[in-house]
Symmetry: C2
Subunit: 309 residues, 2 copies
């Protein structure tokens, strides 16, 4: 079984949407990535940090999904990273109400010995220096390094971000961030520029408008599944990344054609994530539901056209 | 050969985009629909009205595409409908600078005798009463009636719009308009509501984010082709409608599966329209280019996935 190493936040979130609000619930990029990737046959581990205020129940949840949590440091008398956000009526934009870095401020990631030779590395959104710190601990070259980031690091750690990008195979990024990083409005041109920064593959996430995969002249597009109700978008991008990297780790095949399938698996899993608050939907998600919705994705996108006469 | 009846404006446009500006050039919904539909084996006619200031050269262009123009009334001493618009930097929004209805104010559409038994009717964006006036002249029930409209008629002629919708098979509409017409934010719910107003098929156009086709529980999605340069979005929606209705008229098959192909053909043709100012790109478009780009659409969207183990 191939190994997937996940690096990212494990956190408490407090979320408010037009449909309700939560107290502190389980959140964090690595959490969503891990839950999503657990739908594939991979041996996975999370490298992260929490405080000793973090609920054992949540750690048990991750373990129950066969995720190795020995790389999640628990800081004594530390407080877990906390994020609070308010979504606007259209759910496409949000305000951050509060960010408390807490134990994340001094996070020094330690990769478990058994995962230093992982096949796929999924670097969730974190300071680029932490992402570099993880890559430096690897003892063999992985098949694939996937990196997620955000505009915040472009604003305040651009040089470090550029350094880590040189060591990355796939960058996942949203459309606005792709424009900011490249200085190009056209996403086709933006991907071209980002290719020159290192990543051979660029995945541009457009939220409810789907995702694009670029590999030089090759392009693939997957829509988001049109849903009657979107309840809470938190974690959708990380769930996408978890499905993408989890599938690729399982298959051990990083061809462009296989990456198309990975994009579909990621989009499929993300379509569930938004149906309930936080990780709730992903915790209860069954294989049969995943497969049924994959069929929906086929119906949604596949056609059989003959060339015009 | 099946017959396609096109009703809509034939106009002068003046366009300004971040890349340049034009004087009065050929425009109008029926113009774009006709040029696009001429890529299929159909016998088509345009019903419209112009003033005697309208260039014979433009009429000849339409005729040269085998479009019957006997239904384009030329009003003596009348002035042709004129629209002028300014696109913003992202090309996703525009300001209307000037609208002069001119001869359109008293437009009384007359369907040529030979097209009163058309197979497909494509009603371009016009006052709903004009659209009804065309349907009333038909002598046999068409295979398919397609209607395009806009928010302006929802604001000032909603009851008339609801009357014509009862007689329509396919409504093409953009996302914001679908929300306005239905009162629902979710496009899935919006399509459900619009189904109850008459149209069995609802096509929701999302511009650069592609198009959705709804038929009760069936959904299909086609992306817009990611382009390096978008030069002028004018006419893209009408070009889409022309490809959609032209293909369906050619095939004479209005099944959901065939309508998927029609959506792809429409999206494909629209991807050319935006590459130059006005109708310029559509005037020079060759069959080989169309076919090559259809292959690109296949590469962009088709995948071969096995269900998760």
């Amino acid at each position: 079984m191939n190994k997937l190493l996940i690096v990212g936040t494990v956190a408490y979130d407090a979320i408010e949407t037009p449909f309700g609000k939560t107290d502190k619930i389980l959140g964090g990029a690595a959490t969503y990535i891990g839950l999503s990737a657990s739908h594939f046959n991979v041996k996975s581990a999370i490298v992260s940090v929490v405080g000793d205020d973090f609920s054992q129940e949540y750690l048990d949840l991750l373990s129950s999904r066969n995720i190795d949590i020995s790389g999640i440091e628990i800081v004594k008398e530390g407080k877990t990273f906390f994020w609070s956000g308010l979504y606007h009526n259209d759910l496409n934009s949000r305000d951050t109400l509060d960010t408390q870095l807490n134990v994340l401020a001094d996070f020094n990631p330690i990769v478990p010995e058994d995962f230093k030779d992982s096949d796929v590395i999924m670097l969730g959104n974190l300071h680029p220096n932490i992402q570099i710190g993880v890559l430096d601990q690897l003892t063999s070259k992985p098949k694939l390094v996937v990196l997620d980031t955000m505009n915040f690091w472009m604003d305040c750690a651009l040089e470090e971000l550029k350094q880590v990008l040189k060591r990355v195979d796939v960058l996942t990024i949203n459309d606005e961030e792709a424009r900011q990083l490249s200085g190009e409005y056209s996403l086709v041109k933006a991907a071209e520029i980002i290719h020159t920064m290192g990543p051979k593959f660029v995945v541009i996430k457009k939220g409810e408008h789907g995702a694009l995969l670029f590999n030089n002249d090759q392009v693939f597009f997957a829509p988001a599944l049109p849903l009657k109700e979107v309840f809470d978008p938190t974690g959708a991008g990380d769930t996408f990344a978890g499905g993408f990297s989890g599938y690729l780790a399982q298959q051990g095949n990083v061809s462009f054609n296989n990456m198309k399938n990975a994009i579909i698996h990621g989009s499929n899993l993300a379509s569930f994530c938004v149906e309930k608050f936080g990780t709730q939907r992903m915790e209860s998600l069954e294989k049969e539901e995943v497969n049924a919705r994959l069929q929906q994705f086929k119906m949604l996108t596949q056609f059989d056209i003959e060339l015009a006469q």
